[in-house]
Symmetry: C2
Subunit: 224 residues, 2 copies
């Protein structure tokens, strides 16, 4: 996909691009919808920080800008930040230990700062609730509510309807996301989902489990 063929003049977006499958599909969807995308990835001490390299490749592939913001969360609070903690097995219920307190709020806040500065009208986030029913900051109610706070708290919001938070995958299942990605030509081989972040996916963590299941249900082969 050549993004420059699809860009409407001046329609800018900031895309939260982790390097995972969901955010890759979101980026391709935003481009298809005519947005000139500036991507944002985070280096926050996650055990699978190799995903940032995947974000770089995806941004490069689509000709999109990418900024990587680095920060620490010294209070921890998540097995995703601590290699000594074990990851929850696939299929466990409730909010998983991989939940990082307020992570998406932090991500969206940086995206808001970026969007307001460059004059982007929309922030895209690949959040969806279907498979990971445990993450409160992936819910539509949260995203709507954050959009409202963002409107009150920015210069842009005091002179216009404010910046829109768009989560186009929010009600989709993994198999639907994979099918959508396939139709958009998303290079799945450039994405990374495994929480462990080794040289190849562990195949056992929640993230691997849902990815594998999604590819199986979509009758497709995961190139990873």
């Amino acid at each position: 996909m050549r993004p420059d063929k699809l860009i409407s003049r001046g329609k800018k977006a900031v895309v939260l691009l982790s390097g995972g499958l969901d955010s890759a599909v979101t980026l391709y969807l935003a481009i298809k919808n005519g947005f000139l995308c500036s991507c944002l990835a985070f280096d926050y001490g996650q055990r699978h920080r190799r995903e940032i390299e995947n974000a770089r490749r995806l941004a490069k592939k689509t000709g999109s800008a990418l900024r990587v913001i680095k920060f620490g969360l010294p209070w921890g609070g998540s097995s995703l930040l601590n290699k000594k903690k074990s990851l929850p097995p696939a299929g466990s219920r409730g909010i998983p230990s991989t939940y990082v307190p307020a992570r998406n709020i932090i991500f969206l806040s940086f995206a808001l700062s970026y969007a307001e500065t460059i004059g982007a009208e929309t922030i895209f986030i690949g959040a969806h609730i279907h498979d990971y029913s445990g993450y409160p900051d992936c819910r539509e109610e949260f995203l709507r509510s954050f959009q409202s706070a963002a409107r009150y708290g920015t210069r842009t919001g005091s002179v216009s309807a404010g910046i829109k938070i768009s989560a186009p995958l929010v009600n989709k299942s993994k198999v639907q996301i994979i099918r959508l990605g396939k139709s958009l030509g998303v290079p799945f081989n450039l994405t990374w989902s495994c929480y462990k972040g080794g040289s190849s996916p562990c195949g056992r963590c929640q993230s691997c489990f849902f990815r594998l299941k999604g590819f199986q249900e979509a009758d497709l082969k995961d190139p990873l």
Copy 2:
């Protein structure tokens, strides 16, 4: 003030402590109200980053924990982040060029992550609208709205009323804040307000202007 004399068992707060006058008064107020305070300061490329040292001294003085989070905002967008830009003169109208897009949203998001992890029930922020009528992220509507987003987006918020965002100074004028600080024993000499961040306050930037005016109106001498 010995904070340990005032702590109610288990009543924890996170306090956004810039090292400025307003946040110092807020910290002392939180302590007086029985909170065990964990403070948060940010090193985000502000031209007056010397304020962080003041935050350290204030935290030490009150026996409070302090975490400093470092990050960059590579997209700029504010004269507070760029020494080459001139600062707006005191008395200019509208949203000043020192406005950093979404700064308080970013600060509050980190505070939320910290608060949720340590089990703090309240986040204190020294925001007030009276003098700096230009900052949209100091408005009560924004703070209420952020609290609502925070409730939807956190684990804590899905099992309780969520974390409260408290801005006790929000409707106070600078002179009222200084009088309150005086009554609480705030060591004004440990605070820093000047945007320029040199070795002594410039006396001309908006922040210096309102501070000086406040001390004059309160009939007090600014130790700086």
